[in-house]
């Protein structure tokens, strides 16, 4: 009798522990999410708080440094205007990065396959990165006018370089023994490229695109301010420039804040694209996440 009673108690105990375990597992999930989100949030709040306090001291004019609350209200009041400009800039950045990725990748492949071409093209490409856009901006406008095209050209010029360099390195990093093995399987040059080099270069190109993104958003700003711009949705860069000359500093900051968020969003979009397109490149490090 007492034995069966004990059994019943221990069974209940087991259930209780199991439920407790489940609840703890759910709690662990929440805690893990908090651990990911909390540090950047706390840091952002501390920085914004310090900024607000400094701006409220009144030692700087609000034309020079608007307080965060002023920026927030400028963003709120001009949401429609900024959203329209955001659309234009997003299209420019996305199309620019995509084109830079294609162009950088194609040029990297050509340079990889032909040593004379590499010798001919590389110095020119490196040098071209030093040319200030302001120098060639009038020419771009002369050729392509006031539309999106000259801006796209500027962004692509700025962004294709990191893609080119990382892709060339990715293509070169392919194991020599791997290529030798393909040769014993009677692979043609094209097949060696298609089966070994192309997939190896893909994550490298996408890494290049992520690096390019940081300069790409600045590139969009430069493009919009250097090549003449007209129309209602002329882009965030144009908006910022116009606001700064009109002493609409809070609105300029609000537009800059939107650029800031755009860069972060594009960066994570590219990271996710890389994980989807080249999962093998993350597998080694993936286990620690």
């Amino acid at each position: 009798m007492s034995v069966s009673h004990e059994t019943a108690v221990s069974a209940t105990d087991t259930n209780v522990t199991r439920d407790g375990g489940g609840a703890r597992f759910g709690g662990a999930r929440v805690r893990a999410a908090a651990a990911t989100l909390l540090p950047p949030l706390v840091l952002a709040l501390v920085l914004i708080g310090a900024w607000e306090a400094y701006a409220d001291l009144g030692t700087t004019s609000s034309y020079v440094l608007p307080a965060p609350h002023a920026i927030a209200s400028a963003l709120w009041q001009n949401a429609g205007l900024i959203a329209g400009n955001l659309g234009t800039t997003t299209v420019e950045v996305a199309a620019g990065i995509a084109l830079a990725l294609l162009l950088g990748f194609a040029l990297a492949v050509l340079v990889h396959l032909s040593e004379p071409l590499r010798r001919a093209v590389y110095p020119l490409v490196v040098g071209s990165q030093a040319i200030p856009i302001a120098v060639i901006a009038p020419l771009l406008v002369f050729w392509w006018g006031f539309g999106v095209l000259p801006k796209l050209v500027v962004i692509v010029l700025i962004c294709f370089f990191p893609v080119l360099v990382t892709t060339v390195d990715g293509l070169r990093a392919v194991d020599r023994d791997q290529l030798k093995l393909l040769r014993t399987l009677d692979a043609s040059r094209w097949q060696a490229f298609r089966f070994a080099e192309l997939p190896a270069a893909l994550p490298a190109a996408l890494s290049g695109a992520r690096i390019a993104l940081a300069v790409g958003v600045i590139g969009a700003y430069i493009a919009e301010s250097q090549t003449a711009t007209s129309g209602a949705n002329a882009g965030l860069g144009h908006e910022i420039n116009a606001d700064l000359t009109a002493l609409q500093t809070p609105r300029a900051y609000a537009a800059a804040l939107v650029l800031f968020v755009l860069a972060i969003a594009c960066f994570y979009a590219l990271t996710m694209a890389e994980r989807a397109l080249a999962p093998w490149a993350h597998r080694q490090t993936g286990e620690t996440h």
Partner: protein, 266 residues
């Protein structure tokens, strides 16, 4: 008439059409990274019959890999003559492509031969079933153990459709237990899919357990110093008295070759 001329040009060795591989007095020198010439092979003569498993043992750096690359046509001999049927190489490292599944890696040679992907995968899957790899088709190389990766690499070599397989220390990087399993697996695989095999290894026991015949190479420049016939029934236990006796003979040949080289260079 032509035959007569040919036999006069090569009086020692008549062309032997029952042989998959014939090397006569093959020598090979290559430049190392600093441009110093290194003699990898000296006066190597050997033959491999169709369907035979020849093991070549030797100390590291005795030109074993060079020998396999010559047979596979990746290098050309500078001295002597070489005849070989089409040979596929299974390198020491598995070199599986990380972006392809196990099955797609195994089917690589078929894809290169322009077999459509579906058909190539079907043929590879049939071999997977036959050789006990069923269930691993969709695993990526990163998910496979070292032994499994070598098995997939072997199937890839097998599916190249070439009559000769050159295996370069295929189990060298594996732990002892896995290596023993792999040797058994290879024996079974070759019983089902007979090929002419040249197995290069530094493991004398492996050579004696697997091969029909064992050649012992001297240290660089590689030169054949002993030939052992392994006329033993399969499967062979490594503890078998005949196996251990042959192993001792091969080790003795290796040791005396090393002593001679050391004496010559002293």
């Amino acid at each position: 008439m032509a035959t007569e001329l040919q036999s006069r040009a090569q009086p020692i060795e008549r062309p032997a059409y029952d042989r998959a591989i014939v090397l006569s007095a093959v020598g090979r020198v290559f430049d190392d990274r600093r441009g110093t010439p290194v003699r990898a092979l000296r006066d190597v003569s050997l033959h491999v019959d169709r369907g035979e498993l020849l093991a070549i043992v030797g100390p590291s750096g005795c030109g074993k890999t060079t020998l396999l690359e010559l047979i596979c046509g990746l290098q050309q001999p500078q001295d002597g003559t070489l005849h070989s049927e089409a040979a596929a190489l299974m390198p020491q490292r598995d070199l599986l492509l990380p972006w392809l599944s196990a099955l797609d890696n195994a089917a690589l040679a078929l894809r290169i031969a322009h077999v459509p992907r579906r058909q190539a995968r079907e043929r590879a899957a049939a071999i997977f079933d036959e050789l006990g790899l069923a269930g691993f088709e969709d695993a990526t190389p990163a998910q496979l153990s070292g032994g499994m990766r070598q098995r997939v690499a072997f199937v890839r070599t097998l599916l190249s459709g070439k009559p000769v397989l050159c295996l370069d220390e295929p189990f060298g990087a594996l732990d002892a237990i896995t290596r023993a399993e792999m040797q058994e697996w290879l024996s079974r695989a070759l019983a089902r899919e007979p090929r002419t095999v040249v197995l290069v290894t530094h493991d004398v026991e492996e050579a004696v357990v697997l091969a029909d015949r064992v050649l012992v190479l001297s240290p660089r420049p590689g030169h054949v110093v002993a030939e052992l016939d392994v006329a033993l029934a399969r499967p062979r236990a490594r503890t078998d008295a005949a196996v251990t006796a042959l192993r001792e003979r091969a080790l003795d040949a290796l040791a005396s070759a090393s002593r001679e080289i050391a004496a010559a260079s002293a």
